[in-house]
């Protein structure tokens, strides 16, 4: 064992900043990371054991205990629930004989909940030993567990292949693209390698200017102007880095998954252009562990690009432009999508967002100036260079240029990815996806806004209703409070735990929501939710904590009546108190019970 760990550690140059990779490889060997392995890693890297553990225990997919021969992660997100997760979960428990959160007695099956896995268009979905099983049904649960019991492998259970590259040998996945609408930028005609050659006729500064002129704004959610970000980065001297954010953790988004499946070259070319613009030598694609099934394809594309001189030395014949890309896998933590947490994770640490300033463009990866961009932003750059900023600006609205990928899911006939021009109304998006009897739309995922029909006329763009792309449609029959509860549980699970309010005020808010849902709420509880929830916006360090109360706040704003229907009228005391329950123990002790 110890020589095995030694090999892994030597492979990463005994570099503690590569702890994520080291832990991944150690876990791949045995299925978990034992105490001895932790000790061995600590001693080899010359750090303390608690330092290894603080990274290890931060990430959902690392484990110090065996997870079962077949490790089953079932998506716990809202849309999974809407599409019948409960039945499927129940079937899993029944046929494996174990409960969620534990391993069956024979050590065969481990059942776990997991936050959104980026498959909202084909829920309920599970990941079993790294392989995605979309569209799970009770029938399928019984079928696969029976097969596993009979000794079949997980890959044996791949019974269909999704469209596009999912069918290739490199991906070979049951995941479907559901690319329901191709637009002019990301999913238009694309010939790999052509645009990259243009660096021979354009200087880094000219490239930055072109991106600036295009008005491209970041597609990861915050919408910062991409050209400006690159420009800022070049102002700080020193080695620079490009990080591509493919963490895609916001429940309800899955568009980066489809880009990485169908346009991997475009992603890497975008990263290379960013590297050229800011003068970087290394780019890192930070990829969520849930998309591990794309690894082989992505590595193969990188190899191919190196072979064609599109990565490596003197790229595309451009003398002195040396650049390469590596892939960094996450290990299950939504907060790592936050740019500074992503940097920490790339450095082998807990994914805790940093305090800002300084910003990553000044002090980023390995404390060097770093540009971080979303997958879709970087792909857009490729097309902007190919067709020009003017062409790009001719699409969209006045202040929001180009196209946007919407990930539409929930109560719609055609869930999937839609590439649309900015400026489409919510109503149009609903019609486009075949939405039925819509009560509400969650725009931008849990951290976004829950809107009702009175806002369906609004346009999707930075001037009006901005979004990172998640668009969850909630039909008439659904209960808003169930939606809110699912989102609150998500934030509680995914908080990094640094900030006191994000760590615990979220729990307080969720508990109060539970109280209302149990029919024990009073009118003042609603005021509390609003007053306490508002504090979250200012109290926390990063966007996760700052928006963690949004589900509560925006649902009270737009669907107050659903709360009020649950509230006990005319009572202003805490109805949660149960006298009989409170005196149960002493009743038992004295042998006297209150009369019923």
């Amino acid at each position: 064992m110890s020589s095995h760990i030694q090999n892994i550690i030597e492979k990463y140059g005994k570099d503690a900043t590569r702890l994520m990779d080291i832990l991944h490889e150690a876990q791949a060997k045995e299925g978990f990371i034992s105490d001895e392995v932790v000790k061995e890693i600590a001693s080899q890297l010359n750090i303390s054991k608690v330092d290894v553990e603080q990274t290890l225990t931060f990430y959902h997919f690392f484990s110090k205990k065996p997870l079962g021969k077949y490790t089953i992660y079932l998506n716990n997100s809202l849309v999974s629930h809407m599409m019948g997760r409960e039945e499927v979960a129940h079937a899993f428990e029944k046929v494996t004989g174990t409960k969620f959160g534990s391993v069956s007695e024979d050590g065969q099956f481990g059942l776990y909940n997991t936050s959104c896995i980026g498959m909202n268009d084909q829920e309920p979905a599970a990941i079993i030993n790294g392989i995605v099983f979309p569209k799970m049904t009770t029938y399928r649960v019984k079928e696969i567990i029976k097969a596993f019991r009979a000794g079949e492998s997980v890959t044996d259970m791949i019974n269909s292949l999704g469209g596009g590259h999912n069918q290739s040998d490199l991906v070979h996945s049951m995941v479907t693209n559901n690319l329901n609408r191709r637009g002019a930028v990301i999913f238009s005609e694309f010939t790999p390698g052509d645009t990259l050659k243009k660096i021979n006729s354009i200087s880094p500064k000219e490239l930055i200017d072109e991106v600036k002129k295009s008005n491209l704004r970041g597609r990861g959610g915050a919408g910062f102007p991409t050209g400006l970000k690159w420009d800022f980065c070049t102002k700080t001297p020193g080695e620079r880095y490009v990080l591509c954010n493919a963490d895609e953790g916001e429940p309800g988004t899955f568009k980066d998954r489809v880009i990485l499946t169908e346009r991997p070259e475009m992603v890497f070319e975008g990263m290379t252009l960013a590297g050229y613009a800011i003068g970087a030598k290394l780019g890192i694609l930070y990829l969520r562990e849930e998309y591990r099934y794309l690894e082989k394809q992505l590595e193969t594309v990188l190899l191919g690009m190196r072979g064609k001189g599109l990565l490596g030395r003197n790229i595309a014949g451009k003398e002195g432009f040396d650049y390469d890309i590596r892939i960094q896998f996450g290990a299950g933590a939504y907060v790592c999508g936050e740019e500074s947490a992503l940097i920490e994770s790339c450095e082998g640490k807990r994914g805790e967002p940093r305090n800002r300033p300084p910003f990553p463009v000044q002090v980023g990866y390995l404390d060097k100036p770093t540009v971080i961009n979303n997958v879709e932003s970087l792909c857009s750059v490729v097309k902007i260079l190919e067709k020009g900023a003017e062409w790009y600006k001719s699409m969209g609205t006045k202040e929001t240029s180009g196209t946007k990928l919407l990930s539409i899911s929930g109560d719609v006939r055609y869930p999937g990815v839609f590439e649309v021009e900015w400026g489409i109304t919510v109503q149009e998006a609903l019609e486009m996806s075949g939405a039925m009897n819509v009560k509400a739309v969650q725009v931008g995922g849990p951290s976004g806004r829950l809107i009702g029909p009175n806002e369906f006329h609004r346009t999707i763009c930075y001037e009006d209703l901005p979004t990172g792309g998640a668009f969850i449609v909630i039909g008439e029959g659904r209960k808003i409070l169930d939606v809110v509860k699912n989102f609150m549980d998500f934030f509680i699970d995914e908080s990094c735990g640094s900030c006191a309010p994000c760590r615990y005020l979220t729990v307080i808010l969720r508990n109060k929501l539970n109280k209302i849902m149990e029919g024990k709420g009073v009118a003042s509880d609603l005021d509390d939710l609003v007053n306490w929830g508002k504090q979250m916006k200012v109290a926390n360090r990063c966007g996760l904590g700052q928006s963690a109360a949004n589900p509560i706040l925006s649902s009270i704003e737009n669907f107050r009546y659903e709360y009020e229907a649950k509230i006990e009228k005319g009572k202003d005391f805490d109805t949660r108190f149960d006298l009989n329950k409170a005196i149960q123990e002493s009743s038992r002790a004295v042998g006297r019970f209150p009369e019923a």
Binding site: E53, N355, S495, G497, I508, D528
Partner: protein
């Protein structure tokens, strides 16, 4: 000679050296900004969020702020004080703080802030979820029921060769402080005392030592926290 800069806190004109930390600079100007995770000379964590102030109108943590000429800081204003009080109350209910039975009572910064902010009882319901005590180290023990995860121990208590003795385990509300048992074996008496003094609450305590100073004569028993800073002005 380093450069002096001017800034204001609640309208009061203040001076500091360029590049100074806002907490320290405020202190020198006789203004108390409440803190919990801040530890002078150690990289700020910005995690308790108590030191929230408004800088040119925007909420920011003071402990992570490096002063710039002309900054306009709001400290003693209603909404900020309310936020701070909410945070204090959150910390009280997120753990189990039975002050009368705690060795740190009177020297505890959380308790003292509770008094300063006139908290009678937290507005949030208690959960009383029990947390594990780790008493394996020979000289100290950690009572996680009282830990507020300020990470002062994590950031400042290292071995001679720079290894961490304390670290956080897990994340979110399940996060907790862990101690490296092997490294803690070699802690000296002084290091153990220092560890206890580093912790703002009664989470890290020295073994075999209790109630040296009687209750009533401890640091915050007679004067509220922060008053030693505010004293400078009146003198």
């Amino acid at each position: 000679m380093s450069e002096k800069i001017k800034f204001t806190i609640d309208g009061k004109e203040c001076f500091a050296e360029k590049g100074a930390n806002l907490i320290e600079a405020a202190k020198e100007n006789g203004v108390y900004i409440p803190t919990l995770c801040h530890l002078e000379g150690v990289k700020p964590a910005g995690s308790c969020r108590i030191c929230n102030v408004k800088i040119n109108g925007r909420p920011m943590t003071a402990c992570t702020t490096t002063l710039i000429e002309g900054m306009n800081i709001e400290n003693n204003v209603e909404d900020i004080q309310e936020l701070r009080k909410i945070i204090i109350e959150t910390l009280f209910v997120s753990g189990n703080h039975y002050c009368p039975a705690c060795e740190k009572s009177g020297n505890c910064e959380l308790q003292a802030l509770g008094y300063r902010f006139k908290m009678l009882v937290p507005r949030f319901p208690f959960e009383f979820e029990e947390k594990e005590v780790d008493a394996e180290a020979p000289k100290i023990y950690i009572d996680r029921n009282r830990c507020i995860l300020c990470k002062r121990c994590v950031r400042s208590l290292k071995t001679e060769d720079g290894k961490s003795i304390f670290a956080v385990q897990g994340r979110g509300y399940k996060a907790m402080i862990n101690i490296d048992h092997e490294l803690a074996m070699n802690m000296t008496d002084e290091e153990a005392t220092h560890a206890m003094d580093t912790c703002p609450v009664g989470s890290i305590l020295k073994k075999e030592r209790g109630y040296y100073d009687p209750i009533g004569s401890r640091k915050y028993d007679k004067k509220p926290i922060g008053s030693e800073i505010e004293q400078i002005v009146t003198n």
